[in-house]
């Protein structure tokens, strides 16, 4: 029976044209000059995935705020709260 793994530790892939430049600039990834190509592409993948996750988090966060912006109670209360703040002598 074929074994399958939920995670991929190793794979073969074609490097897209512009990305082939990466090994010439290991310093862009905070790596020393003599870093191997494999290590550079590893670092690049990690950096890329981290950016994807950050983008997804930002997108989800924006959706939450956009929904809150439309919240009828918030909209009704915003002006009154502002006046309560400014009239309270905090400035």
């Amino acid at each position: 029976m074929r074994k399958s793994s939920p995670t991929i530790g190793r794979t073969t892939l074609s490097i897209p044209g512009p990305v082939q430049e990466a090994p010439r600039h290991p310093e862009y990834l905070g790596l020393p000059k003599n870093t191997s190509k494999a290590k550079i592409f590893q670092a690049l993948l990690a950096r890329g995935w981290s950016s994807v996750l950050a983008e997804q988090r930002a997108k989800a966060e924006l959706e939450i705020y956009a929904a809150y912006e439309q919240d009828p109670e918030r909209r009704a209360a915003a002006k009154d709260l502002q006046e309560m703040t400014l009239r309270s002598g905090v400035v």
Partner: protein
């Protein structure tokens, strides 16, 4: 155009007073109200631990973060945000973030074993950290509940209180809007604001029931504030 974190705008009608925007830029791009620290020419001695002196000599103070409507929300020109006066430098912004982190006691709350600060002096004479109060004015026709997040020492010394609006009607489930009072209401962390003395009703008959939040709820609020006010970097600098 959305207001940007770190920029300083004039407070309309008060040319010497600025507003240094602190809510995160996702919030600022989606919302018609943003949080900003007051920038003033002079501060109280008790404010110094929470203030950052800027290059122009004024002080941005983490003890007076207020939530105000943007010009986009008030197209008739009545927004408190006047023209831009400049920006905080990277160093000034970091020091202001660090001051806000300390002021909100986030390092105490977000350590592996959270710590609780006890009230100081006669706790009935000022709004207490972690407790709920209603405002002395009607908001959207109701007396809204606020949860106090400023430290007791500050509240006792100044009567000025930083607090977060709560709501029972919100349908969102997100870390920025943690549930408190046993899940009955949400705290809207991005709406952190500051009131002068007397804005919250202290007398016992006016207090909501229950009037106190749990430590776990305050930890959840702390996590929400880290997101809405972009305090992750400050938290890392504090070693947490």
């Amino acid at each position: 155009m959305p207001l940007l974190r770190g920029t300083i705008h004039e407070l309309t009608g008060a040319p010497n007073v600025g507003l240094a925007i602190l809510t995160n830029d996702r919030w600022n791009s989606a919302m018609s109200q943003v949080g900003a620290a007051l920038v003033r020419p002079e501060i109280l001695p008790v404010e110094e631990p929470y203030a950052v002196q800027l290059g122009d000599g004024r002080f941005a103070t983490a003890a007076r973060v207020i939530s105000l409507q943007t010009p986009a929300a008030e197209p008739d020109g009545t927004s408190p945000f006047g023209p831009a006066q400049g920006s905080l430098s990277t160093d000034e912004l970091r020091r202001l973030e660090d001051a806000l982190l300390r002021f909100l006691q986030l390092p105490l709350l977000l350590r592996p074993v959270p710590q609780l600060r006890r009230p100081v002096g006669d706790a009935s004479r000022y709004a207490n950290w972690g407790e709920l109060y209603v405002g002395n004015q009607l908001t959207a026709g109701e007396r809204k509940r606020f949860i106090v997040v400023s430290p007791n020492e500050w509240n006792a010394a100044t009567g000025v209180v930083s607090a977060i609006r709560t709501t029972s009607k919100l349908k969102l489930n997100a870390a920025q809007f943690p549930k408190i009072q046993g899940g009955r209401i949400h705290a809207c962390c991005g709406d952190l604001t500051t009131f002068g003395p007397g804005a919250l009703l202290l007398r016992r008959q006016s207090r909501p029931t229950p009037a106190t939040s749990t430590l776990a709820e305050m930890v959840a609020i702390a996590r929400g504030l880290v997101i809405t006010h972009d305090l992750g970097g400050a938290l890392a600098r504090a070693g947490i």
